[in-house]
């Protein structure tokens, strides 16, 4: 459990709201991503049909996930790679640590991978005496600062260039100005050495093609190419849901992934890794290991959160979410932030972990609109809230209120009576025709919003006369 989780969600969100820099950074970043995405799809009429295709491919793949995984494993092995099966995060960490130990690995260079964040791989490596080095610029900054990423594709959006300059000056011993160009050059130089020296490269996978045993990485910086080309061992860690059947499927996803994430037609680099280096090839790793991670995913195949398994991790739903835009990624407290993050957290950590987060959504549906594979996030959030209630995870006050509300709505007499009582009770709080400044528990609602009062004559009363 991260430190952030020691304070309740409301406290974490409150702190984020008071952080003036974070507020500004979030506004600029999310607005920019929204605009870039919109522009990219507006000039791409076939985009909508491709999104439908992509969704259908994900669904069709899930319907035979076992078959595709076996096919993937067979092909990876045929190409000379090794496949490992990790049911839990702990098993996945164990597999990577054992590889490090058996092969005398001292340093590992990593390209950005949410799956390795999910299993807290870096902490485990450090503990075992292996130095993990994040090489995506944003992740590198976060690692030097001992923080966690705050956005799936822009992990360091919460930091100013001034803060980065200070950090680099301290950690890399130098005097560096607050200029992104200079700071990027500093990181290039520092990391170039690491790429050339490291024993192991660790990556995630954006896709894995079952037909050919190919792991696909999508990056902009080129670090994904470095870590899969220079060290003598390459380990790729991927959630089982990342498998897709064929190359024909792959190009459908490539056409919409970068557009959704950054508004690019394609990211700078799409890297297809087909096992270890081949006979006659001068470069590339001698060993290729693919770690297939379940960690709670298979439990959802036939359950509420099935659709969350379609997720491509593009981050589009974060940018449009009115909650994420206000509080940023850290306040969520887990690896995956934003609307999809709530569902993924429930999937990986269990329903109890999202007791509060399940309500960190206005259910406005903006996430569903921008999702490249049209994941129905709002529907699943509502279902998740239902589960929390039935599993008695939701606070007792919430459960009592909803139970009472249900009674009220089911009985015409009680409903009529409630209108009469409400009209009488609301009197002191109606100002300029709106309900304001309610007492007790309700005050938290009216502190920032108002409500229409119960009408002087309800619809039912008027209906009686009209008939």
């Amino acid at each position: 459990m991260s430190d952030a989780l020691r304070t309740p969600f409301s406290g974490r969100a409150g702190a984020a709201l008071k952080d003036a820099f974070l507020q500004e950074a979030l506004k600029i970043a999310t607005t920019k991503f929204i605009d870039l995405r919109k522009e990219s799809f507006s000039g791409f009429p076939q985009g909508e049909a491709l999104r439908d295709r992509a969704r259908a491919i994900k669904e069709a793949t899930l319907q035979h996930l076992d078959v595709h995984l076996e096919r993937l494993a067979d092909h990876v092995e045929r190409l000379g790679g090794t496949v490992h099966w990790a049911t839990t995060a702990e098993e996945a960490r164990g597999i990577v640590l054992r590889l490090c130990r058996d092969r005398g690995v001292r340093t590992a260079v990593k390209s950005k991978s949410m799956a390795t964040e999910e299993i807290d791989l870096n902490e485990a490596l450090e503990h075992a005496g292996v130095t993990p080095i994040e090489t995506d610029l944003g992740e590198y900054i976060i690692q030097l600062a001992h923080e966690k990423p705050s956005h799936i594709i822009a992990p360091a959006i919460h930091k100013t260039k001034g803060q980065v300059a200070e950090l680099f000056s301290r950690e890399l011993r130098g005097e560096f100005p607050a200029d992104p160009e200079v700071l990027t050059a500093v990181a290039r130089k520092a990391l170039r050495e690491k790429f050339l020296q490291a024993d192991m490269g660790i990556t995630g996978a954006n896709f894995a093609v079952a037909d050919t045993g190919t792991v696909v990485l999508v990056t902009n910086e080129g670090n994904g190419r470095m870590v899969t080309s220079l060290p003598r061992i390459h380990v790729a860690l991927m959630g089982v849901e990342k498998v897709i059947p064929s190359m024909s499927d792959l190009v459908v996803f490539l056409a919409i992934l970068a557009r959704s994430a950054t508004g690019q037609k394609l990211s700078s680099y799409t890297t297809l890794v087909r096992g270890p280096r081949r006979a006659g090839e001068l470069e590339g790793p001698e060993e290729f290991h693919l770690v297939l991670l379940d960690n709670g995913r298979s439990r959802q195949i036939a359950s509420t959160l099935r659709e969350a398994l379609y997720c491509l991790r593009c981050g589009a739903c974060l940018n449009v979410c009115p909650v994420y835009r206000q509080i940023g990624g850290h306040a969520y407290g887990y690896t995956y932030p934003g609307p999809i993050g709530i569902l993924l957290t429930a999937m990986l950590k269990g329903n109890a972990s999202v007791r509060e987060l399940a309500h960190a959504s206005s259910l406005c549906g903006a996430c569903k609109d921008v999702c490249p594979v049209r994941i129905d996030i709002p529907r699943m959030l509502v279902e998740l809230r239902g589960h929390l209630d039935r599993e008695k995870i939701a606070p007792w006050t919430e459960r009592v209120v909803f139970k009472a509300f249900r009674r009220l709505l089911l009985s015409p007499t009680a409903f009529r009576l409630s209108a009469t009582v409400g009209r009488w009770l609301q009197r002191p709080f109606v100002r300029q025709g709106r309900l304001r400044g309610l007492p007790l528990l309700f005050g938290r609602w009216t502190r920032t919003r108002d409500l229409p009062p119960v009408a002087a004559r309800t619809f039912r009363e008027q209906w009686k006369d009209l008939r």
Partner: protein
């Protein structure tokens, strides 16, 4: 530790429990990939000029620099010019056989140090030597196996005489290609990749395929776009007119 059988069995059980599935299908795969690839090639044999125009627009949009030369003999002059402008002293290239031409002698006359990869070279000493050379070189010269117009993308297959680092470690990447490499859409790339994997010889050639769309870039510090964070700062595409 979980074994494969146990792992797959759990997933199979869950898959079998899935309620009320709707009909969904994957992308249609060409029944005869080789034939489909030939069809694409035939179409492009006529349409390549439009594809080239589109490639140029898209490539320049992602900050690529486009060059056009009448024939292969004119390529070294372009590379030599780039080297002079940047004060570059050393170059790495793919094996001349993979590249389709030998730039070394012409460029050496300009006083440049040119190291060409040699097909079949794969021992540890050669590997370390080549890595050192590629890391030091300012310019890397490669071919391109497919050139995708729709997105301005160069697609390179690794293999014997085609090291991965040539297009990655130097500051400047120059890719040389002819009309027969042009494709219009990602869908056509899909057909080519299917055909490649259906052909046992080519499928086992090299272990990496890279799609390169402009120079290496990042926007991780205050969303300021910066080029050349890990990979090349510049990407040049040299189109050779002569078929």
């Amino acid at each position: 530790m979980t074994g494969r059988a146990e792992f797959i069995e759990r997933i199979r059980r869950e898959v079998a429990r899935t309620p009320g599935l709707f009909g969904a299908s994957t992308a249609p795969r060409p029944a005869h990939p080789a034939t489909a690839a030939l069809t694409v090639r035939r179409e492009l044999a006529e349409r390549w000029p439009e594809a080239l125009d589109r490639f140029r627009v898209e490539f320049e949009r992602v900050a690529g620099v486009f060059h056009r030369v009448p024939d292969l003999d004119a390529v070294p002059a372009v590379i030599g010019g780039l080297a002079r402008e940047r004060g570059a002293r050393s170059l790495v290239t793919w094996d001349p056989a993979a590249l389709g031409f030998d730039a070394a002698s012409a460029l050496a006359r300009d006083g440049l140090e040119v190291v060409a990869a040699r097909a079949g070279e794969e021992d540890e000493a050669a590997r370390l030597r080549h890595r050192e050379q590629a890391a030091r070189a300012q310019i890397g010269v490669t071919g391109a196996d497919f050139v995708l117009a729709e997105t301005g993308t160069l697609i390179l297959l690794s293999g014997s005489g085609r090291p991965r680092s040539t297009s990655l470690l130097p500051d400047v990447h120059v890719a040389v290609f002819g009309r027969d490499r042009l494709l219009e859409t990602l869908e056509q790339v899909g057909v080519m990749l299917e055909a490649l994997h259906a052909d046992p010889d080519r499928a086992m050639s090299g272990a990496m395929i890279n799609f390169i769309t402009g120079p290496s870039r990042t926007a991780d510090i205050e969303l300021t776009l910066t080029r050349g964070v890990h990979g090349p700062k510049e990407v040049h595409a040299v189109f050779v007119e002569a078929p």
